[in-house]
Symmetry: D2
Subunit: 157 residues, 4 copies
Amino acid sequence: MKKAHEFVVQKWLNTELPISLNSLSGKVVMISAFQMLCPGCVGVSLPQAKNVFDSFSSSDLAVLGLHTVFEHHGAMKEESLKAFLYENRIHFPVGIDMPAKKRTIPETMEKYRIEGTPSTVLIDRDGILRKLKFGHIPDLLLGAELMALINEKHDIE
Amino acid sequence: MKKAHEFVVQKWLNTELPISLNSLSGKVVMISAFQMLCPGCVGVSLPQAKNVFDSFSSSDLAVLGLHTVFEHHGAMKEESLKAFLYENRIHFPVGIDMPAKKRTIPETMEKYRIEGTPSTVLIDRDGILRKLKFGHIPDLLLGAELMALINEKHDIE
Amino acid sequence: MKKAHEFVVQKWLNTELPISLNSLSGKVVMISAFQMLCPGCVGVSLPQAKNVFDSFSSSDLAVLGLHTVFEHHGAMKEESLKAFLYENRIHFPVGIDMPAKKRTIPETMEKYRIEGTPSTVLIDRDGILRKLKFGHIPDLLLGAELMALINEKHDIE
Amino acid sequence: MKKAHEFVVQKWLNTELPISLNSLSGKVVMISAFQMLCPGCVGVSLPQAKNVFDSFSSSDLAVLGLHTVFEHHGAMKEESLKAFLYENRIHFPVGIDMPAKKRTIPETMEKYRIEGTPSTVLIDRDGILRKLKFGHIPDLLLGAELMALINEKHDIE
């Protein structure tokens, strides 16, 4: 198993310090890849990510958003995203995925081979990518998968 | 009873011809006042307006959206709104309310004394304002109120 | 158009006086045909009937339940039904459809040719059967249909 | 920590062999205590128990229903319960809690000090009572708690 790719983001919102996967080593990481104008993200995956953020201890689990804009680029710029996060009361850190030159798919999305939004990424305490799911994960299953990862020991290097 | 105020909109989307209240005389008119970043609009009032648009005959009822931006103005510009309408499959005409000089509340919103979003406005076949509701109208009640207005005769002038 | 069939019920609950279609002449009548062990009735059609009962004036509309048991007869007897109505806070009158000799389908259900549960029956102010629907009627549509019937004049005989 | 009380049931449905807590040693056990006429059980806790039954391996987790009738006793007898389980497609074993002489609360319910329905009981692989909750447990939390118990080692005696 290989380490998950480091994030390549243009800017982090809802956090004072930039976030790297490396700095989160030892915690389980859940990434909710979304676009602010994707109805399934607004209606289902972001409310679920908020619920996860509120339900688990931040010492065990880091919840992150990743704004992976691959369509309507001009419609989802930083100012719009900031208002969106405020209105939807999303308080966990959100990274704006790095636009790629001459391509519509941004860099982190491409590295992780994320197929669309919403997608959920789970990374274990050792930084290994353990799950990548395009679409919805039911709450019961997600709760079980997160707890299974949280219960794994971290191999301190 | 007085005639409802004429719309003052900057631009109409989802329609080739501009729309005026006067031109709709003879039909019942339902206006869904919204902001694209208002969670209650995205989750509840706009899906309801789509349902109304699909359920009633367009010869009896005109369904219109009114984008009444009174906060985060820079975040909800025309390009973002167009992508929002496309992604949320909103096919009825949407007017962009006219920004007012030095004020945050746009003109039509102010004339109608709309308190916030989502709001629903019902106008009868004679152009008289019959209902203005800030917040949610349950489907059962809205269906009954629309049919009561549709069943009224239009006094041809 | 013909008059709707008179109810043939074994017993009425939630009412001191027995109810006949004839005695309701002048009002619109909505009948919710159900079985207490039918999941679609418990989850959808009975909550909707309660909502209709609470939303319209009883001088315009009579809401009735009809317990049309056509399977598991021994499991849905009067004592069980009474507890069911109490626990589900159903306060409108409910008639227990008359069991038919040697047949599983009770009498009123058969006369109306109701295909299963849940079913909704709408009868106009003149006692004419206007709608019979097996399955779900969305709230928006039901509200509109009820108001259309309420707005019709009653031909006093 | 003490062993959970053994079940005292009048009869088991949906299983050929009677079930004892002792015979389930080594598995996590989830018990959904319900009454067939309790709306919160029909609408929320039993659908959740079905989802748990379908989502976890039966070699890790045993899902059981316990019909703890403490009101309307005559309305929820075995024949009614059997039809209820059939109509609601509940396929996991359901025990009918033993009526107690001269008391309304049945025996297992009393031993476990279950306060009402719906209630959920979680027992670990060693037969220790780990959770007793009257009311709803959200899916995300229940999934996490079940997985935490499943991941614990069983101390073979």
